[in-house]
Symmetry: D2
Subunit: 476 residues, 4 copies
């Protein structure tokens, strides 16, 4: 992506555009014209597939694009080298758009509609964050054109938010106060549907529990050893017993990240990695205390030492019906994804590998889902933003209907026109919704009022991950 | 058993006997003559089959017999209603003979050579303590006759020791100082062999671990409950993990004595009952501390409370080669059990149910095993006596060769002539060994010297069960 | 309860009553007059507190009452000695009323408002089935008076259904076809509220899993033993792992009913008792198969043998909005429980021991709750009836508001006027609802139509407990 | 190591040597002269620190040395690229010497007497096999000189045996029949003592147990997942329960080599790696069957699939007192290691880090231990050789007394003169013992007779690892 050329391209557009007012149709038309450029940007990120806090190239490409459109870039914010805030305009209102760009480890795939791991990669955009980043950027640049053309007062901000996948990048940005003066935030996510819901998620918190014992030859002197793996298994045992005594909406899951090195040595180190979730942060914290006691009890009962490192923590998403309705109205106006014959052929082949199949794939991709109340069982660091600023989130059908996140099918479609078409649905909807927010102060006020009411009067934001420093090396 | 008639019977014997000295042969002859009487006494105990600390009848029958022979009886010693000390003579040396008489719960059998639970009983002499008690009494009365006849100075004591099976009766008697002035102790045990070995056992300690949680309807509100059964299982889990990290000679075993009352209620109470053993008391105490930590860790990790009650604790047996050799010499002189045709028929039929079969049952019952060094893996409260007084123990073939203790086969043979013949082998051997001890001060001195050397100079007796009161209701 | 005197008392009433028509008000008035008699009947059952399938006296008392009112009694139905069907009238429609009368083991209490276990009892009516039985009987007798007085055609049946608590008494009665010709069934349950809801429950199924291993002395030869308790714990372990992989609405809980007899013997027998529940019977059966595999896997992995006995199994309750609405209308007409000063004083003191307290206890007892959709997390054998006949169930405030079932507080209030007043609320509501059913064929038709629609066209009733014989000794 | 120069050096020696007979003293003198060369060879291997089946350089260096001394080299034997047999002479008797040369992964250290991981290495000779390989080679070349000089008939073989550490290299060589015609085998091992014992080891067998489940999002749809990690933990649970029911001499230990990849995904793959050991191969195989059932039971109980790969398996060492006595005599003649001031300074500093310290390090290094019966609790693939050929093994003090195998202290000393001095003790003792074997047919016959007697008449060799192909990539 040649930043300079892009700047010229944008400049040529902007010169005449500055002289005359732009309406919704102009914005949509501009995005249609730019579709190819942003598709290329998205695919460049898809190729990089950089992991959390290591997204140097991907973050840089987005920053180039925004800088070329005269955004002011502040980078390395909140102590996160790949985080940035790109701003345009000044004063109130302040409207934020979020852009993610990290990939997932351990899974790769080409843009083929059948399982075909990428020969050179160990990571992939299985959650579509390359589209997320490029699409949000497209929306931001479109709104910026509209603001200049129409002399709109206020500030537009594009937040480049790294490490959503297990890194809680946004939480550090919230904690650093970067959202304190924002009036509303718009965000989207790649999906297999087009929808703007009144949706929430589970608050979650994760930690690595590290146990240290005493090594000994496991055949010659096992009685002199104290097994750290025993402690990991004892903690797991008690955590599994705890399941029965948790509210049924809670979720707890773990892997053993270090289970000893050689069978003939009593392991003096072992580690497990736990996630714990619940719709309410307060309940989550209570459950967390109990989980901590399973770890302490395991250390006590196996003669080992335990220490834990909280890795990440996200609040649930606080929904905002006012904003969701506004977004849903615009999404309906924009419409869903239109498959051409090639898209349909791709989707049809890919759908053969899906567990739940949609009868009419093209119709499902084109459809806008009715707005609904939704308790998602996943988690996202958008949660912490949503308890700080009224936030609306939509989904666009960047994946073949029936596709689940974090699958090779998501990577595959994300590398094709299906992905970039879905991305443009999101870019358009977000741009038009942002325009509404700039033009309708009463909408911002209503959203704020609902936000205050939902949050409660005595709410005080506390990050679930506490005061830990960002785990910049968690993907190394 | 009519105590008065017995007294008369003994009296008739004693009157002339007092006038003339008795030698070894006379003692053996006396025991042969009395065999039927003592067999009847043993079978009376076999019929009662009373459990630990509840042996009122059994203890009473033995006391009657001893009182009829002019022993002075002190009963209810050491706070144990069924314990007693029967004494004859005065001054030094003091020679003790131990007599047990408690049965085992949960197993009953008639005197048949095939499995035939007793229709009216829930307990049985599966460890042969009825023979133990009656045989030791026979030996004591025989020695007493000899002492009077020969004007032997010194004191003979028969200790009636209740609740050997899990009740540690002798430990309370040792703790109360009842053995402090004794020079040597003789003891035997029913078995499938005739032997006097340099044998030791495992020290052991037991406790009930009681966990308390919070009851709740297990379907409606499991999240409000804290399961005490979870705690029991978590403790067991960590205890089982601990096995790998114990010396291989250690033994740990448990049952769950209370595992919740109804599945649809989260159990607010649960209990397990643990035994822990090791040849060395000091190592046992270290392992015990670790076991305690598994219980504490389980309580911590399951949100429950734990308390424990130590139930019993026995030291290992401290062997004494000097005394064992003396006893082995006498045992060899006395010889083993001689089967008649009926005995052999019974043994042959019973042996069909045994896992390990002896080719020539009659020969095995008649044989005296060579003296050997033996690490037994069981435990006995004779252990605590043996760290207080030089002690010798022998076994006599009261059971069909191949029979294990605590089996129906042991009950069965114990109710027949096989059992009482074996008992008389023990009674004779113990009587003759006691005579040796009275007559040979140098034997007592050598035994004491070996005892001091084995025990170590800085030895201080501490009961493994600590200062707890006797669990007089542990079998109710 | 003198049955003969009762018969005379009823007879005196009936003779004149037969001559003139009775309306709703007369029925209510009759029940008010009889309140004391039925309260006495209920308290007689409360005193007996008989356990499942052992309710000889309690069942007999109800039968006496019904026989005295000219019901035809068929007893010992479906192979259940304490089950009976009491019938009055003939022909269609057939309206059923259910009466339970079993108590719960392991909990007793006097009629005091503070914890006071009954000195002579080990069981108690902690689920209020004494009120259930007497109240339903009162309703049936009242309706029978009304039928005779008004020459109403059709059949009224009172089903005496034993062993609801874990015995699934009704399931055997359904399986035997005793409900096949019934048009509608009315039922109530003691509670801390007055309500008639569109409520369902969880289907459930229980079994005892019995494992057999090889006994061995746990210290001398543990390697020769195979522990049945190991198997129980291994099954529990895998069942607990399975929790994460069950739908969150599922419920699974267990106790260990036999955990070995003595620590020094490797247990050759051990048993656990499991309940498994889910809203859908089909899902429950799938989960059951997996639970079974944890048992089989545990036996395989521990070298033991497993066999299971299904103990009980109840379908979920199939709600019927048509009937629930009819019942709710009558309940609203009847009104709730009115506390006098003594009731309030009792309730106030008792409420101090409750976790969740109601601010105005008298108001809560008097209130009729709005009709609502309800997913109860408990289970009942009414479920199987409800998949066979359109069924309506109500609750009446027989307990102090805030009281949970299966608590001492439920026993206590059930032994006072609070309990019997609540019982009369139920008796009146059921009587009036039954009258509606006899008088309104269209109501029966609508209820049937809804029933068929909810059940599905290809429904085929299969008892979850299969073809097992009734476990008549499950409470011995 | 320049093979050609070495060849010349050896040649210069051999030319005159060929003309005159050599006696023991000449052999010892030759080894003293060559000490520096063989020390250099050992340190070259120490530097390489190549892992099992990857020892290309190390094997090559030993082959060069042997080829230069006119040994015939057959390489890549038994399908093992780094295995070789170097032969000299022909006909009977056939005397074998074993040479190992593989290092251990995960541990590195410089030649410093304090903990100092090697900056560039991830492996190290923590078991001293570099000395083993070079020392055995020195012995072989010395014997070959002596054979030629004295015209000794018979065959000398040096077996280059790779991958002793968990790779069971020798087992494949035994299985391929490479030892079938050998009369006796001599072997040594680096240690902290000088000793030739009548020693045995534990037979062992290892396998990786791989479980496959069904992946699912652990928060969104855990009920659709089947966790392979659950299966690993369930197997471990049952294996830990099995401990109580194994003979106490058995050893079982495991690590979890794959415990899931990310907490938010139900793991569809997990793996554990088990070792199981017992003094008797037959008992080991029985225990193995039971371990296998814990794995099968775990798969069944968790809804997963299991497969296992046996990784290695070694028989116990069959001792040979005849050969051990011969070796002990020669070892006593040769004497132990003599520390100079530098050695002692090194040993003294290093000993500060040892748990068990020797009072007089120099004396302990110089001492020859009395020959004793020894049940080692480790395992070695020398075991399989020892059931095929009468075998004698000695240890030499290449490590500071008090050092355990597989520690950094072993690597450190192995990189100094202490290591190479100890190596020469072994080289001299093995050379002289081999000479005895060539000169004393009666010694070979006696060793063979004892061997046959110990092995039993119906013995049939079966490798514990079955017919699997060598795991040539087990260390990649």
């Amino acid at each position: 992506m040649a930043g300079l050329l892009r700047a010229l391209a944008l400049g040529l557009l902007l010169l005449p555009g500055a002289a005359m007012a732009l309406d919704d149709e102009d914005v949509l038309a501009w995005l249609d014209r730019e579709q190819e450029q942003y598709a290329a940007l998205a695919l460049a990120l898809w190729d990089e597939a950089e992991l959390g806090y290591l997204e140097t190239e991907s973050s840089g490409l987005l920053q180039q694009e925004l800088a070329a459109a005269d955004f002011r870039i502040e980078t390395g914010v909140a102590g996160l080298p790949t985080a940035f805030v790109a701003s345009y305009g000044s004063g109130e209102p302040v409207i934020g758009i979020l852009a993610e760009f990290d990939a997932l480890p351990g899974i790769s795939q080409t843009a083929a509609p059948r399982r075909e791991p990428h020969p050179d990669k160990h990571s992939g955009h299985a959650c579509g964050h390359h589209l997320f980043g490029a699409g949000s950027t497209a929306a931001a640049v479109a709104v910026r054109q509209w603001m200049e053309a129409n002399n709109i007062p206020g500030t537009l901000r594009l937040y480049g938010t790294p490490a959503e996948e297990g890194g809680s990048g946004k939480v550090y940005m919230v904690r650093a106060g970067l959202f304190d003066d924002v009036d509303s935030v718009l965000v989207w996510h790649p999906a297999d549907r087009n929808a703007a819901d009144i949706a929430t998620t589970l608050a979650n918190k994760s930690a690595r529990f590290r146990f240290r014992g005493i090594a000994s030859h496991a055949a010659v002197a096992p009685e002199r050893g104290r097994s750290a793996l025993d402690a990991v298994e004892a903690m797991n045992y008690m955590a599994n017993l705890m399941r029965e005594h948790m509210p049924q909406e809670a979720r707890m899951h773990y892997v053993i990240t270090s289970g000893g090195s050689a069978p003939n040595v009593v392991p003096d180190f072992a580690e497990s990695f736990y996630y714990l979730r619940h719709p309410q942060a307060a309940t989550l914290e209570q459950l967390w205390s109990r989980l901590l006691e399973t770890a302490e009890g395991a250390a006590l009962g196996t003669g080992t030492e335990m220490e834990l490192e909280v890795i990440h923590g996200n609040h649930s998403v606080l929904p905002n019906e006012t904003l969701a309705s506004a977004m849903h109205r615009r999404l309906t106006m924009v419409g869903g994804v239109t498959y051409d014959a090639a898209d349909l052929a791709f989707a049809t082949e890919l759908a053969e590998s899906l567990a739940s199949r949609e009868a009419d794939l093209a119709a499902a991709a084109a459809r806008i889902e009715p707005m609904s109340l939704l308790q998602g069982m996943g988690s996202t660091d958008v949660g912490d933003v949503s308890w700080t600023v009224p936030t609306a989130e939509m989904r666009a059908a960047t994946w073949v209907p029936g596709t689940a996140p974090h699958t090779w099918q998501a990577i595959a479609a994300g590398g094709t026109a299906i992905g970039t078409k879905g991305m443009m649905v999101a870019a358009k909807t977000m741009a038009l919704t942002a325009i509404d927010l700039f033009l309708q102060p009463e909408l911002l006020q209503a959203a704020r009022a609902e936000f205050e009411q939902r949050r409660g009067t005595d709410f005080e934001y506390r990050p679930l991950l506490g005061d830990r420093e960002p785990p910049l090396d968690y993907r190394r």
